[in-house]
Assembly symmetry: D3
């Protein structure tokens, strides 16, 4: 196989996001900010910001709304080569409303994504085929939760990528609003054997595949049972809606070692959406372009922490800033208080 | 029958509207203004601004978005006594995007209303019944175009109102995107015999009921054939997206007379959405609270012209301002150039 | 007496509020947000958000400014049936400027309310009379401080409500800028015997009626001496302008019991204006629609805490959100960190 | 007399202005722009922009609101040496709301200026005295309409200036909302004999001093009867709220000549407030620093026309831009379409 | 030669643009909108919107400002494969301020572009070489005016492209602020023989190459003397800063024919910057992807007219909208007044 | 020497500042706030807010941008009598971008000040001379770092002021981006003997003049060696980008005493830029108008702490507010939680 054109390819839905301006409320605001996001896109964008070549496989309505989404995908440095434009008159972009929280009021998300163009998307419409065009394919359980047809073709795509020698990265990201636990459990049995890099929360790791024991043994069990090479779990501690701490544990099956670092504490949270995806982006960067699992931890945690301080779903930062945050973190916060 | 509590009741969908701030574009804007609108609501709000008691029969999701819509309905002076809150997890408020135009670029509307809570609404859920609670029921062809079930129950409601002695006002407002001409034609045959006040564009009047001849004879034919008491037709002349002229012709079957006045010319259009509904509101005010068809013309035209100068779907004005515009118009524009 | 149409009626002034956008300063800002508020309206709005039927007795100028205020009153779910429109050319709506604080700079309020329409309002102009139309009448010491004529007619109104069998709720809310301590002390002697539910700060309870002893014995003394059925006192601890804690003590004379709960700590304060009124709303909800004094504490504290996190004078929330905050608080903060 | 420090001094009220953002409405807007303005201040600012040294005699509350006003006065280049800060707790800055118009809806102004600090201002509090400190004193009939005490001290000030050899400039600017025609007529008899430069609209010139005949003979009569050296009259033709034309006629008593020029036609009006004051500023510039009445016409018309295209009460432009507009106007619109 | 990857490549400077929000003024505004633009980029973006593959050769500072510019370049659909990031500490992005005009006040541009990274850019730093990678290279006289070194290497680049068989498109776009007429005249002699598609204003065509005669003969002379295949000239008629008309004449040397169409009249101008570049984009689209010079006229005029109605330097539209404008224009304005 | 007209005069550069609106990022924001600032101007403005008469010696481009800067200088109460307008076509105002930080992301500043009008400014162009016109001249090491010519004339100006009996205040403020340590060290040797009031950070005091020992002995050494009368050092402790503490130590050579107070802790930082300059302003106020070094500490710390809570470079506050903060601080935070 030749070197693929892209380092990473995401397969998933892109949503329009509407946030009341100035920390206003969904209940009362007149002004909204429009952005786009999506679990897989957020990962692709984070990697692009770090300098890797990434692309999205997704579907957008062939309308000014879809074109805005495409332009924003490009803005974040992600390729639109496999963005399909849905010509049907009924094509709609799924959307969601997001509201910030202040203690004791929690942040809130309201989804309106039923019947979106992506949920009806047929990968086979893509020409040329994306198979073999990227080193790594990333997807999340959200994509798998978008109906049985989407599930079937997603598994088909993953298998094709896997068989073409590509790396498969999968973030379980279970959402009860989308599908039942039993459906998810069945699906996991199919996708885990194809998965190289696995991202899973501790709670999901216990409930869905019904594991017990400490987190480390659970991580090991995924490697043993399904052959996953890397298993990563993150932990967010919520002091208040505007103060989080962030920690992660990454298991490297090859060396049978666990990697972690001092957590990021008292992160000043501007917008917590997408911080999990930012972790995935950083971790994949460490695995694809860095020194493996140790870098997966330091890049992953840094991107997650930075994301929390930024509006929007994506970590619109750059490599230099991220390295500076990592350095300062590793020096226990010593360093200049301002960059100039 | 006792005097009903309300002067007018509207039956129809309420939509969330998103407009790019500052005359921006759907294709590129980051900031949007959120408003609500709906053909029947716009009429109810216009009448409420003029001092009549109005209410809406509609359905909203039981969510912060639905509650915002309800609060805005109340803000415009319209009662929410028959606003039904849909508890289902999938309940969504239909929405649309609106973009202003500047010559040679036209204004644009993109709808995303499929599967909305109103389109699935069952009037029978309302308690108490709205029948007999208003002097007049108003609805438009948009409501009738929202599927066969909605059509059936709308006709049922109209018939019940009619039989309870209420006035029925109907604005044909045919939208090809919603239903076929033949479906609309069939439906018209059912609703026109129940209609007292008919609002219909000249083009629709010719195509749907397949009439020919001059506008006046077409208007008369509706009265003769279906018993409509008032038939009103408006004409918008578009000099550019920001300059319209507005004219109307109202036929009063009782006196067999046609009413019109000098058109409003060179209206400085800020937002043309809802101007037709504003006309209906003004016309109904003239018919319900004024001196009949002549007042229907002067109030209707004034509200339509004022609406064109206001952001949003509704004519948020008040009686004093409207009277001042009418007076100035009837004095051929003479008068103070500023109100202070 | 038949069941009254409204659960609660407020009598008091509505003010226009101007807040510099984006945490700007009165000294320098170019952009301001316009809102409305008022101690009694804030209570009525809070109750309406919780689902009770409330109304305001107040006066507004018959102008676009007054109409905006009326529309906003309706927006918050409060009835405008007893909103009087003052036709006089000099009618003005009182206003105030509000500026947020950040430590060590305190928040600031500048009033400009002299000669407002409400301060000249004559209740007798209202037709029909509001007496007997609500289960409860609420007013505050602010209304009583608006001059001797306002004081006289307010007492007259309270007495009439009381005699018609209504519940009287009174929040002392003493403001030194409006009237002298001795005037306030005299007035208290007249209104306390008519008061069922009394809201009073600890400091005011000691100074104005000149009580001593611990807070509990002071609360009891109001019940013994004047017959108040419920006496509620709140305590705000200000860590910084953006971090408050909130606590309250409610005495139920019938059972001779004191109710309180774990305070809300480290509330992330966006806007502290109206949090006292939000407490009153929650407490009245507990008393009118809940299980009495214990619910008064939990609803009152929750509304006060939520209000602190919201822009504007009023707690624009809904019952579901409030219940979720109460539940999470009672579970010591356990629960999801985001609502979706 | 030594050369005075200032070229012009204005005596009059400064008002806070609130304009709905983005051409919104007083009836519905949530966002407002705060500015300051005032008939005399607008003139002083226009002259300062053109390079003359000007100052205001006025009173402001000693509060952040007053300080903002003072800072803005300085921003416009006007000296605050005679700005008095009113320490009284009740001191308020008068204010007004302004709403743009679009045809057929007119612009609207709502004043709330009763009881302002300026209306209670005592010039004698000023230290040092402003007498003899400026070449010219300008005031308008608005100042004279603010009550009998203000009228008395204003006339006293004018007389002192006149007697100290200063030029007196007076803009009649009659406002029926402030005082009666008969009061104004009496007052005119006192101030006109002290007036060197008179600004009066044609309508006022006919009604208040009860003159008849053509405009030219009326202008001459003021010179003959009262000794005015220059009499200027402007004419605004309102095609629509966003399209005005502007014309003026200036009579120079010394040469007994009338000066005018081709009107500014189809001015694209952004904000018409203050355009009359801008004319006065330009005219005074022509008289004080230019070549007399002919320059009064060209500067006056240009400033008035430019002001119409600018937000706010004042013509925040500079000499270079004004000269460029004059040149282009005198070349019948020929010239570059963009300045770069 | 293989089919090149890109249809068009632009070589030129990208500038940061700052525009006062809400039609404010450079002299007074506090809020600015940041955008990017540049004569060649505007052309590349217009072509990308129409569906062609375009790229920019330019230089940006390696900073968050440069990264924003890169992201926006991608947003518009243009490739950043040849965007060079300047690592030097002194690298700056040139910028300009833009202010809208209203009659009689003209729009204004203030440049601050001295010492920009592009003006110091060395093409030889690019790796890989852009030669042979696009069907067409476009540049303007602005690039040639950025100093003698830039001129030398630009000519070198043009020659290399020409010799590699590429099409060269050149827009003279003479700016007196950048270089002298004599320098420009000399440079023209070098570049015109390499130019296939020439865009030149009538005035420049007369003055720089010192031609006389009617426009048609001047156009022909460029073809005869230098071998240009297409010569296009546009004409803007400025009724006011907000109303322009647009006309063009395109000469096709191969058929020796002149192409034009009915001008776009009374364009409602929101922002005139970049409309000339939009014409070039449309014209190149007609030449590269359409039916030649006739399409160059219709696409070019349509894009120019649409651009005038859009904020920013670029015509962020799409093919469907552009076709709809062309159709409506060719039907003499008949058609729906709103797109829905 | 007569009493000088001004209390303080600053000599230094004024920069245009661009900050993304709403805590946005330089990398992505579309909206920016424009302000002005500059180390010396910030000091002059702080003193003017406290009531002293201050002026700036600086240079601005003769353009709308320069005029905005001049107007803002006046807005802050600072005189523009020595503001020079640079007529050259290339005159530019230096500018910088500022981005807020949230932990772990730091605030960021990007300068673009090369070739600014001030860096080319020749003091000798000023007419009349500023020498002898102020009690105190203040400048910072930033001015000295703007090239050798600026350094030479700044030293010349300082010497002239010193010799005319004026007080010289100097804030070392070393910026490595502007000049080398060795150049700065040489320059210090020239300016320190002319300096009365010295502001220097502990780190700079150790590195540049190469001192060792504890801070107190270092402060004393400046007095002994160079004759400085007051030496002030501040210490900022950065808990996070939004929480700082502030402390200072002021040495009074005359009494050989050190002054300090309880630090301001947990300052809620909105914008940390200019807080050092605010300290200088407060300290100079204490020294010039208060009770000497003790007041220098209390005013200096209070202004620095207040500045941290305000947007922009300058402490736009007033004497009353500052006194209230000092009082509350000295009472260990006791007092009202809101000013009304």
């Amino acid at each position: 196989m030749n070197t693929p054109e892209f380092d990473m390819m995401g397969f998933g839905e892109v949503l329009l996001r509407l946030t009341p301006s100035g920390r206003g409320r969904i209940l009362g605001a007149e002004h909204f900010e429009r952005e786009i996001g999506g679990a897989e896109l957020n990962v692709a964008a984070g990697l692009a910001m770090l300098g890797l070549r990434t692309a999205m496989i997704t579907s957008l309505p062939d309308s000014p709304i879809g074109q805005f989404a495409r332009n924003r995908i490009r803005f974040t440095g992600v390729s639109d080569d496999w963005v399909y434009f849905d010509q049907s008159a009924e094509a709609r972009l799924g959307l969601y409303f997001y509201e910030h929280g202040e203690s004791p009021r929690k942040p809130m998300v309201i989804y309106d994504r039923k019947g979106s163009t992506f949920s009806k998307f047929l990968i086979k419409n893509l020409d040329p085929s994306p198979i073999g065009r990227a080193r790594l394919l990333h997807l999340t359980g959200i994509t798998l939760g978008l109906g049985t047809e989407m599930r079937a073709q997603a598994l088909h795509l993953v298998r094709a990528f896997h068989e073409a020698g590509g790396i498969v990265s999968f973030d379980v990201n279970y959402r009860a609003a989308l599908w039942s636990e039993s459906d998810a459990r069945e699906c996991l049995k199919e996708i885990l054997p194809l998965t190289n890099f696995l991202f899973v929360s501790e709670e999901t790791a216990r409930r869905l595949p019904e594991r017990t024991g400490d987190l480390q043994s659970i991580q090991q069990s995924f490697a043993k049972e399904f052959g996953c090479k890397v298993v990563a779990t993150t932990r967010r501690t919520v002091e208040s809606p505007t103060r989080h701490s962030w920690d992660s544990l990454v298991y490297d099956a090859k060396t049978d070692q666990f990697h972690s670092e001092e957590p990021y504490r008292s992160i000043e949270v501007v917008d917590r959406i997408g911080s999990g995806d930012a972790f995935v982006a950083g971790a994949l960067y460490g695995l694809l372009a860095g020194n493996g699992a140790a870098d997966a931890v330091s890049y992953g945690n840094a991107l997650a922490a930075i994301k929390c301080t930024l509006h929007g779903d994506m970590v619109l930062s750059n490599r230099r800033e991220i390295l500076s945050v990592i350095r300062q973190h590793q020096a226990f916060g010593q360093g200049d208080e301002m960059s100039r």
